[in-house]
């Protein structure tokens, strides 16, 4: 077996041009199962485009991106990647349980999976509530619950902790860490630096280019900064 067969992600010279703008410029990286990867960068740096490319819902201009040995967007990958978009992407006029039941059905999951996931995201007591009547944090948990249906080996989460209170953020990051320890590859985008420090590996994007790909500790060392926020600013502003 080739070494690349064990990779969760194998992205090589990925380029995406959207509306005449080069949103992603030759992105390359690889990842193995169990990695917790923080995807960082200012707004407009290409984080969402990269995530959507990996999910197969964004057309790729050139280069290649493979997940679990399949080209992104191939039918073989459909339903095998848990996805949480920016904004909740759930049906506001359905109850929590109806949302989960519909997506579980589409993914050919057992109805028992709905109960399991509601427990994981602590929404069991909200099962019969309409999503529109829930708080922002609760809606985010519904969306995360849908991403967790069927225990996918890959999770792609686009700014899942935006606008949440510190306690909830801590709990979510704990969940991400627990999942990574069971061998799930988790990619979490954020523009909050102190959060990203919880990841084992950081990818830093600016203007569609990958500026940095290493551990949080090495980010501090390279930039010579005393805090993650400062390191982030230096890299974003300082690099050519």
């Amino acid at each position: 077996m080739e070494e690349s067969n064990h990779l969760t992600f194998d992205v090589a010279q990925l380029r995406v041009v959207r509306g005449g703008n080069e949103t992603l410029k030759s992105i390359s990286f690889r990842a193995v199962p169990g990695e917790l990867i923080g995807l960082l960068g200012p707004s407009g740096s290409g984080k969402s485009t990269l995530m959507r490319s990996l999910l197969g819902v964004q057309a790729i201009t050139s280069g290649s991106a493979r997940i679990l040995n399949s080209e992104v967007g191939s039918p073989a990958l459909r339903g095998r990647i848990g996805y949480m978009a920016q904004g909740s992407a759930v049906y506001l006029d359905l109850t929590v349980e109806e949302n989960l039941r519909y997506f579980a059905g589409v993914l050919h999951q057992d109805p028992i999976e709905v109960a399991r996931v509601m427990d994981v995201v602590a929404l069991t007591s909200f099962a019969g509530r309409l999503v529109s009547s829930l708080s922002g944090g609760e809606q985010t948990r519904v969306s995360l619950g849908i991403a967790l249906l069927g225990s996918p080996r890959v999770l792609i989460l686009d700014e899942p902790t935006v606008g949440l209170d510190p306690i909830l953020r801590r709990d979510l990051w704990r969940t991400f860490g627990d999942l990574a320890r069971t061998g799930v590859t988790v990619v979490v985008s954020s523009h909050v630096m102190d959060e990203a420090a919880r990841c084992a590996r950081l990818l830093l994007l600016r203007d569609g280019m990958l500026l940095f790909d290493d551990t949080p500790a090495s980010l501090l060392a390279i930039s010579g900064a005393s805090s993650y926020d400062e390191a982030f600013e230096r890299l974003i502003e300082g690099a050519p």
Partner: protein, 241 residues
């Protein structure tokens, strides 16, 4: 296409509507009330409702279903649920068929309600069989749904979708024979009118024609429904540029 995923989608849409009783009431009652109002306005003109009423039985379901479907599918795009669905095994055909069945069922209830009330309370005396008018109302509702799905690909917002309604529907209303009989239209317009779906609906309701003629008009409406559904499915993009 997968029947299981299609029916799950249908059920999900009906569940959404169940949580929104006001929309259901508007869907079912507005066309019914409009036909009732028409009957009322024509009380002093014997026979007038019998000739105009049946034609409008096809128009109202089409307009209402067109609006509702285009807005609800656009909402699915703007909320991100459509993109999420496209990361799952759900196909475009499953999605479109799920909508067509859900709104087709609503169109059926709507058409039965309008027809039954027309023949009883509103006092419609039409030279024709009541079931034919129900079928036309049902097909018109389905056609509205199919056109709404196709349009939601073109419109970029719910605001635009609502504005497409007069552009899409009103010309058909003018040409379908409701205002001026199709045979009396100027040459070019007559040719255009003859290929419009609403004209087929109006023809299918016209009295004193052969069964073959009616079947032909139903077939034209069905063809439009399938073409519009196919366009709707084809215009959905799993991958955006």
């Amino acid at each position: 296409m997968n029947l299981h995923r299609t029916l799950l989608t249908t059920r999900r849409i009906l569940e959404q509507l169940r949580h929104d009783p006001r929309t259901i009431a508007l869907l079912l009652l507005v066309p019914t009330a409009l036909v009732g109002l028409l009957a009322w306005t024509l009380t002093n003109q014997p026979g007038a409702f019998d000739s105009i009423g049946p034609k409008l039985l096809g128009v109202f379901p089409l307009v209402v279903m067109f609006l509702v479907t285009s807005v609800i599918t656009l909402r699915e795009r703007s909320l991100g649920t459509l993109e999420r669905l496209f990361t799952t095994p759900l196909t475009k055909a499953d999605f479109v068929a799920g909508y067509a069945i859900a709104f087709g069922a609503l169109a059926l209830v709507q058409s039965l309600l309008v027809s039954v009330l027309s023949y009883t309370w509103y006092g419609l005396a039409h030279q024709g069989v009541p079931w034919r008018i129900s079928v036309v109302a049902l097909l018109a509702g389905l056609l509205g749904t199919a056109l709404g799905l196709a349009l939601s690909a073109v419109a970029h917002s719910e605001f635009q979708a609502v504005q497409f309604m007069p552009a899409f529907i009103l010309p058909q209303l003018l040409l379908c024979g409701l205002v001026i009989p199709v045979v009396k239209l100027p040459g070019v317009l007559r040719v255009v009118a003859d290929v419009l779906p609403m004209t087929a609906a109006a023809h299918a309701i016209a009295p004193l024609q052969s069964n073959w003629y009616y079947m032909g008009q139903f077939a034209i409406m069905l063809a439009y429904i399938f073409v519009a559904l196919a366009v709707g499915a084809a215009s959905l993009r799993r991958r955006t540029k």
